[in-house]
């Protein structure tokens, strides 16, 4: 029997943790419908005014679009360079591999602000103007590690026997990749893409330093929260949660695999 320990106690503790995770979110959702300029009690009555304001706020809509644009670019960068990095780490021994691994992992532990400062001094030196693209390059560099670690963890589980067999049977590198490697890492890759997208969509530290005239959604929220927070912020928060639920469920429906579920968020440090 797998279950062991006091079932009632474990269940109650587990539920308590879930309550801790959801109480603040639930609070925000409730106040997004409160007919009051102020986020807090008392509850004056139900309104959809804040949602209407969000959809009428051109700046919010535009920064939402910018965030999606940046996040898509970041996912592409993360996969383009993280996937080869994972395969290199899994399959080959090469000079400097220990340092290669450290550099791949570094952005996981490095504060975003430091990544931002380093890239900003680089951009200034080569005369690159700040824009959504500079944010994309910065976040992309920081999030290559997501695809690299997720895919690497999966490749380690798989072992090398199938790809080596394919090589011995005369398959070239691209054939091995398309017909053997990719089908086996699909769900890990999808999980990594979801994580990279969500982190990018919510990223503040790197973005804060590399942003140009156009802002992403978190930057717009940041300036709203620092000036004067209206319940509009609650409405945006609730919408983002609902949207992410839809995205996650959609992601799992597409992958149709329990593995994608187990991979999401699994750290491979």
């Amino acid at each position: 029997m797998r279950a062991f320990g006091n079932k009632a106690l474990v269940t109650i503790l587990g539920l308590a943790v879930l309550f801790f995770l959801y109480a603040p979110l639930f609070t925000m959702a409730v106040f997004s419908f409160n007919d009051s300029n102020y986020t807090g009690l008392p509850f004056n009555g139900f309104t959809l005014e804040w949602y209407a304001k969000v959809f009428a706020n051109e700046q919010i809509i535009r920064s939402f679009g910018a965030s999606v644009f940046v996040a898509v670019g970041v996912v592409i960068l993360s996969v383009t360079f993280g996937l080869p990095a994972a395969i290199a780490l899994d399959r080959y021994d090469f000079p400097g591999k220990a340092w290669f691994r450290r550099i791949v992992m570094l952005p996981i532990v490095l504060p975003g602000v430091i990544t931002g400062v380093a890239l900003l001094s680089f951009y200034v030196a080569i005369g690159l103007n700040l824009s959504l693209y500079t944010i994309m390059l910065g976040q992309g560099t920081a999030l290559i590690c997501i695809t690299a670690t997720e895919v690497f963890a999966r490749l380690q589980q798989l072992g090398r026997s199938t790809s080596e067999a394919a090589v011995n049977l005369g398959a070239n590198e691209l054939e091995v990749f398309w017909k053997v490697t990719l089908p086996n890492i699909k769900s890990a890759l999808l999980g990594a893409m979801l994580i990279a997208f969500s982190i990018s969509f919510d990223e503040i530290a790197v973005t804060y330093l590399l942003t140009g005239r156009e802002n992403t959604l978190p930057m717009t929220l940041w300036s709203m929260l620092r000036r004067e927070a209206t319940p509009e912020v609650n409405a945006i928060a609730t919408l983002v949660v609902v949207l992410s639920v839809v995205l996650i469920v959609l992601g799992f429906a597409i992958s149709r695999s329990r593995n994608a579920l187990a991979d999401t968020g699994e750290a491979a440090l």
């Binding site: 797998r2 279950a3 062991f4 079932k7 474990v10 503790l13 587990g14 943790v17 995770l21 959801y22 979110l25 609070t27 925000m28 106040f31 807090g40 009690l41 080869p84 395969i87 290199a88 399959r91 080959y92 290669f100 450290r102 791949v104 570094l106 532990v109 504060p111 975003g112 602000v113 430091i114 400062v117 380093a118 001094s121 680089f122 560099t141 005369g170 070239n172 590198e173 919510d202 503040i204 804060y208 330093l209 978190p218 929220l221 929260l225 620092r226 912020v233 945006i236 928060a237 983002v240 949660v241 639920v245 995205l247 996650i248 187990a262 999401t264 968020g265 750290a267 491979a268 440090l269």
Partner: protein
Amino acid sequence: MTDLTADTYLPSEGESGLKRAKRIDRRRMLFWVLPPTLWFFVFMIIPYGMLFYYSLGSVDYVTFTPGLSPANFIKVFTTEPYLGVMLLSAKLGLFTAIFSAIIGYPLAFYLAFHAPETVKRFVYLLVIVPWWASYLVKAYAWKTILGTGGILNTMLIGAGIIDEPLTIFLYNQFSVTLTLVYIFTPFAVLSIYAQLERIPTSLIDAALNAGATRWEVFRKVVFPLSIPGILAGAVITFSLGFGDFVAPVLVGGPSSLMISNIVINLLGVAFDWPMAAAIGLVVITLGLALISVAHYLEHRFQHRL
């Protein structure tokens, strides 16, 4: 690309099969190693080199003068507020890691051992969703809960426990830690769960059959085996806590400014690029050390399951 399609291990004339195989293997290796290496070189190594260049110079008002002085590095370790802030960030990062693990563990345990298959997926989803919710809004939510006009104070007054709203909940290190723990607990849950899930049922059965009590099974089998998961989660939650700059601004006070806030102030307000660069390089070095330590510990505690 065309070269790769022609690759096989068939021996050709004038070259031994083994030699050719090695050459092909090398080419296949470069195919995967080169692109990420080039990217990291341009977008990480060169920028870090720029930081190094700046860190050795100095700034006079707003003009940068290159130099070769280690003064800024010495300042990081000898002049306030730098060292103090660094230590405070490490302390809050450590608190974040420890409390996230303690709070996350029961839920991870429930998921791994008690949740029925049907509920499991749903609960797992419930852990992921708060992680996707906007980071800023989660920090802001605690402000509305802990503030003087907040829900906690309103409830405490309503229950007759206090007469006047308390100010001790917000704008201090407690509120910063609470917010960070709240935001990063899902990471701890997922990472501990991934490790618990790998523990074979047979191992627990064996221990129980051998006469161990359930508490002994936990203390001597399950908990030691879950340590790599706790560590992996802790490295991430520590780092995220250490480098955070949002929580100190939204729910923290002047006493809880962290290293990222100092770096941003140095860039924006003080325009002291060399100092910011020196701090950046020190943190990068610490980060590399942390990775090496984590890698070592993981191998030390990881058992084949």
